[in-house]
Amino acid sequence: MSLSLETMLQLSIILPLLATIGIVATGHKPDLREGVTIGTSLVLLYFVISLYQGLQLGESISVHWWELLPGLQISFSVEPLGMLFALIASFLWLITTVYAIGYMRSHQEQNQTRFYTCFAIAIGSVMGIAFASNLFTLFIFYEVLTLSTYPLVTHAGTEKAKRGGRIYLGILLSTSIVFFLLAIISTWFVAGTLDFKPGGVFDSDVNKLVAGTILVLFIFGIGKAAIMPFHRWLPAAMVAPTPVSALLHAVAVVKAGVFTVLKVCVFIFGIDLLALLPTTQFLLYLAGASILLASLVAMRQDNLKARLAYSTVSQLGYITMGALLATSAGVMGSSMHIATHAFGKITLFFCAGAILVAAHKSKISEMRGLGKQMPITMAAFFIASLSIIGVPPTGGTWSKWYLLMGTMEAEQHILMGILMISSLLNIAYLLPIPFHAFFSADKLSSSGGGIKEAPLPSLIALCVTTVGCVILFVYPQPLYELAKAILAT
């Protein structure tokens, strides 16, 4: 059975959505149901890899579905940045499903069918975002992603979940309706098109103030990129079960946000125009402030997931900053960081979930000495932390390197300083955790008996992503090639 690349492109979006039917149908047979999810994610991965191979051979793959409004198409195409995002998302969906099986079953969660269904819809939307060939298509799937992740965030159904869900939905929908939609329509009005084009869609003689305002609207409107002050939804979403936090808030939702930022900066504005806009500098400082402030807040969090959430806000700031630097190194650093941060953060969240399920601990102060009972988990935590900090032998090294180069290229010395200070802060809020786990005595409880390692599926998933962090350091070529190709088109 050999499908054309175009068919595979369409199927990569439709398949997860169709899988929901299978998941709902097998809802009462958990093993079969999980089989549907895993099967679908394997097929999806196969499609995405085939598309990647096609892209490498220089094929141009695009599909046009439907003209929704006169002049506004729903259409998809494959380009390096989208390919990067799709590869990460589809691979990590598979891994997260394995993790989730372990987590949901040992935690004996309710409504698992609803969980896997919404997960599938969310991944389908992510594919839609990754392969969208114009802003209109991207916006549609962006909104579908927000709505399909709401039931996942409020999974627990408790008052706390409801409140968290309110903040989540409130911020994401408000920013997208008020700012993002306005930015899109303004772009449509000023530039006449919403297609992603290398070099941007605006004429070179566009009014810089107008374009600058539109840029501000975009950055504030893409709430999923969690730029302050619209970042509150991320910590609020931590009320979700950990597999949700892991895939969605380390990978899918947040990466959809910064991916959109990158796409807008590179393919709507174009880095040449970006450098000339009056508001770019202000937004760069905003991103820098986001990086620093989020790191500082992270240091003060005792709840592990909250600390990781603020860390994510900070790391997303890196990517936004890299995009706004409007240099090739900046764009490359941002794109690579999408991948390296995804692997690093998802590992950290996997560990947090494992600790919750196996040891029933969520506060960092209670995790001293845990290394003895959960050595693999804490070792993975350590390696993933290194990736976030950006030191060898983990992939984060390369992305941080290019981001620093980007700040130098753009002569943004303050931002360079911010990046370096932030790395120090990363050390401060991440490394103590594995350090205390291994080297501190277990002061608080002597109930050493009873805490075992994480459930096996979760453990396997954890290890795979940790290895991924290391592989990204040792063998960064594919990532590097993709990142480089973004500006080359």
Partner: protein, 492 residues
């Protein structure tokens, strides 16, 4: 037969209405009404087809030439509205038999269908006619049948709401009558086409200004434009559910039609928009309506009242689109007429289903409803998403066009305010979602079953239409644009 379609559109339901009295069994009356409404829908589709291909249809009643005789003039604008009214009427009527069994005493069922068909005939008449006084007559027929229909509601507040509506509605209709009288005095004609030719000569007189003012104020009262909206919330909330579903989707749309018809076709664009500060007035009142009504909706505990206030807000959107005064703005308004009809009909029918099973629509009664009536609640969520303007629903299409029209005109602050207004919709829709899905069922309530098929079929037809027309926008956009363009082309 085909040549007489314009008059048949009105005559068929009009004649059918008293015939219902001969049908002793309410079931028969329902079937009869459904068939008649379906016929009206078929006629309106044929008319729309004809208009889109060959242009305006002119039909002279009794063969008398205009302006001495009454003529029916069907152009793209009318045809669009005829389609909407008859389509919604048919779909809503599907659930009527089941719904009124719980809400109206059995001996009044046949009378319900009589009034319903009268109301339908009258609304079709208002839209189809080309004579100003004919408009008044049909307007009063539709209003009187509306007062009676609303008074059929179970709660005694329906009587009070109907009375208040009667007083305010009669004042509004009388204002329109005064306006028509003044216009007749100055031009000697009642035919709208003829008026548009003769009015420019006498435009500058105080009489014509006064006529315009009376007509516009009268229409705005029927339209429930802020601040003349006070009759609407109670009237919609306490009327029988089928009545609310029908009127929420059609009555105010007819008033918008009248507004557009009088300002564009009769008085002409230049008079209406430039000699009188209509634009500024309507933008301000439209925005005020959006915000005041949306905020009021947020605090309601009666869900029907909540969506009634939401309707007032949506009318505000239509008025803002109208006030932009460009083809794009008018297209946005007409699109929203179509889309809002779909949204609100679905929502109020779903509320009717809830009313049928539970007997009330307080927010507290919605607790846990997501599990007990999943299909109905899902329909309400979809309707709510459409109200918010999520892509792939009709609500998004209207919003897109409205914002584009505003930006084209350069009214960025208004565009921003419109978008902020949509956020308020998120708040009041989400209150219902949270109550239905997050709260446990109140202790002591019986097990509630899902709504019966007679409800589910029309509700989900409308919901799927919401989604379908949100994706395949060709019909609505083409007709709205054609209507808008012809209105701008025709008026001086």
């Amino acid at each position: 037969m085909l040549a007489h379609l314009p008059i048949l559109q009105v005559i068929v339901p009009l004649m059918a209405a008293p015939l219902c009295l001969f049908l002793t069994r309410p079931r028969l009356a329902w079937l009869f009404a459904l068939i008649v409404s379906g016929l009206a829908f078929v006629i309106s589709s044929l008319l729309l087809q004809q208009v889109m291909t060959s242009g305006t249809i002119i039909y002279e009643l009794g063969g008398w030439d205009a302006p001495w005789g009454i003529e029916y003039r069907i152009d793209q604008l009318n045809a669009f509205l005829l389609l909407i009214i008859s389509a919604i009427s048919t779909v809503v009527l599907f659930a009527a038999d089941t719904s009124i069994r719980q809400e109206i005493p059995a001996e009044k069922h046949t009378l319900f269908y009589v009034l319903y068909l009268l109301s339908l005939a009258a609304m079709l008449g208002i839209v189809a006619t080309g004579d100003a006084f004919n408009v008044f007559v049909f307007l009063e027929i539709s209003s009187l049948s509306a007062y009676a229909l609303i008074a059929l509601g179970k709660d005694r507040r329906a009587l009070w709401a109907s009375y208040q509506y009667l007083v305010m509605g009669t004042i509004g209709a009388t204002f329109i009558l005064i306006g028509i009288g003044l216009m007749y005095q100055m031009t000697g004609t009642l035919n709208m086409e003829d008026l548009s030719i003769r009015l420019p000569e006498v435009e500058q007189t105080r009489t014509v200004f006064t006529a315009f003012a009376f007509v516009i104020v009268g229409i705005c009262l029927k339209l429930a434009m802020f601040p003349l909206h006070l009759w609407l919330p109670n009237a919609y909330a306490y009327a029988p559910s089928i009545v609310t579903a029908f009127f929420a989707a059609t009555a105010t749309k007819v008033a918008i039609y009248l507004l557009i018809r009088f300002t564009f076709s009769v008085y002409g664009f230049s008079f209406s928009f430039t000699h009188i500060p209509l634009q500024m007035l309507f933008v301000v009142l439209g925005l005020a309506g959006i915000f005041a009504a949306s905020v009021a909706a947020i605090y309601q505990t009666n869900i029907k009242l909540l969506f009634a206030y939401s309707s007032i807000a949506q009318i505000g959107y239509m008025i803002v689109g109208f006030s932009v005064g460009t083809v794009a703005g008018l297209t946005a308004t007409l699109l929203h007429v179509f889309n809002h009809a779909l949204m609100k009909a679905a929502l109020f029918l779903a509320l009717g289903a809830v009313m049928y099973r539970i007997g009330g629509v307080r927010l507290t009664q919605f607790h846990g409803l997501g599990r007990q009536m999943p299909l109905t609640m899902a329909a309400i969520v979809m309707g709510g998403l459409s109200l918010i303007g999520v892509p792939l629903t009709v609500g998004f299409v209207s919003k897109w066009y409205l914002i584009v029209a505003l930006i084209e005109k350069g009214w960025w602050p208004v565009a921003l305010l419109i978008l902020f207004g949509s956020l308020l919709a998120i708040v009041y829709v989400w209150r219902i979602v949270e109550a239905a899905y997050f709260k446990p069922v109140l202790a002591g309530t019986e097990i509630i079953k899902e709504a019966p098929l007679s409800f589910l079929i029309p509700i989900w037809t409308l919901v799927l239409a919401n989604i379908y027309f949100g994706i395949d926008t060709r019909l609505s956009v083409q007709v709205a644009k054609a209507a808008s363009q012809s209105l701008f082309g025709v008026s001086p």
